[in-house]
């Protein structure tokens, strides 16, 4: 009979072996920026993503509802006409996890991404564009949430 601890150590060893053998995509697993997703404050998240000091800009468009009746599904989108946007990031200030998602763009896609997020409560939503020249621009909007999408 194995104890839980031995079992965990054992599975970790197996996982390491699998990564070494190239069975598990080690790179794909480690690419997820845990520090950025763990960070609470908007500034900390951006720092963890390696962003420059953010500047509010009209060149970034954030589309989000004024009032979200159901915080579990809030459609948001971000777009920019600026060239060379490397990354679009969605931040929700008062969520337990501030960083909702980060989209790394290439030249082959337009700077226009939409998704749906969960919001715990009424909060500012940020769309942050990180440019190839090192600038970080953002647009923000307050979205009122009538029914929270986390916990219950």
């Amino acid at each position: 009979m194995q104890t839980r601890r031995e079992m965990l150590a054992c599975s970790a060893a197996v996982a390491a072996a699998l990564i070494a053998a190239g069975v598990l995509p080690a790179q794909a697993q480690s690419a997820w920026n845990k520090a950025a997703f763990d960070a609470k404050a908007v500034e900390d998240v951006l720092k963890a993503l390696g962003a420059a000091k953010p500047v509010e800009s009209n060149d970034v468009t954030l589309t989000a509802p004024d009032i979200a009746e159901n915080g579990a599904v809030v459609p948001i989108s971000a777009a920019s006409a600026l060239p060379d946007v490397k990354r679009l990031v969605f931040l929700i200030e008062k969520n337990p996890t501030t960083l909702a998602g980060s989209f790394e763009l290439t030249d082959a896609v337009e700077t226009n991404v939409a998704t749906r997020v969960k919001m715990a409560q009424t909060s500012n939503v940020y769309a942050v564009a990180m440019l190839g020249d090192g600038r970080t621009l953002y647009a923000k909007k307050e979205v009122k949430v009538t029914l929270g999408g986390c916990g219950g």
């Binding site: 809030v74 960083l99 980060s102 790394e104 030249d107 896609v109 226009n112 969960k118």
Partner: protein, 103 residues
């Protein structure tokens, strides 16, 4: 293995608008079950989109992306008949890849 994604890729102007609907629980790790135990987080962490096998966009997602995630993006230069492939990996290491043809 989870349910297939629904991918629609529509040629529009000089590119293709791709809409993806994934089937995933996206558990936040904030909720508790009936016994008061926290339900562990279970969410998609990474998404990759490719045009004819060449990666055009990747995304990292946290728990704040809604259940059964939807995402939309526009691939430049894609024309009818091109293949759009979308794949995701979740924090349990589960993964899924689906393909659609631009119409």
């Amino acid at each position: 293995m989870s349910d297939p994604m629904r991918i629609r890729a529509q040629a529009q102007g000089n590119g293709a608008v791709v809409r993806v609907l994934m089937s995933h629980e996206m558990e936040t790790g904030q909720r508790k079950d009936a016994d008061g135990k926290v339900i562990p987080a279970w969410h998609i962490t990474e998404v990759t989109a490719a045009l004819n096998g060449k990666t055009v966009m990747t995304a990292q997602w946290g728990t704040a992306i809604a259940k059964n995630p939807f995402t939309q993006f526009t691939v430049k230069g894609a024309k009818a008949g091109d293949k759009i492939t979308v794949s995701w990996v979740d924090n349990r290491g589960d993964k899924r890849t689906d393909e659609a043809t631009v119409a």
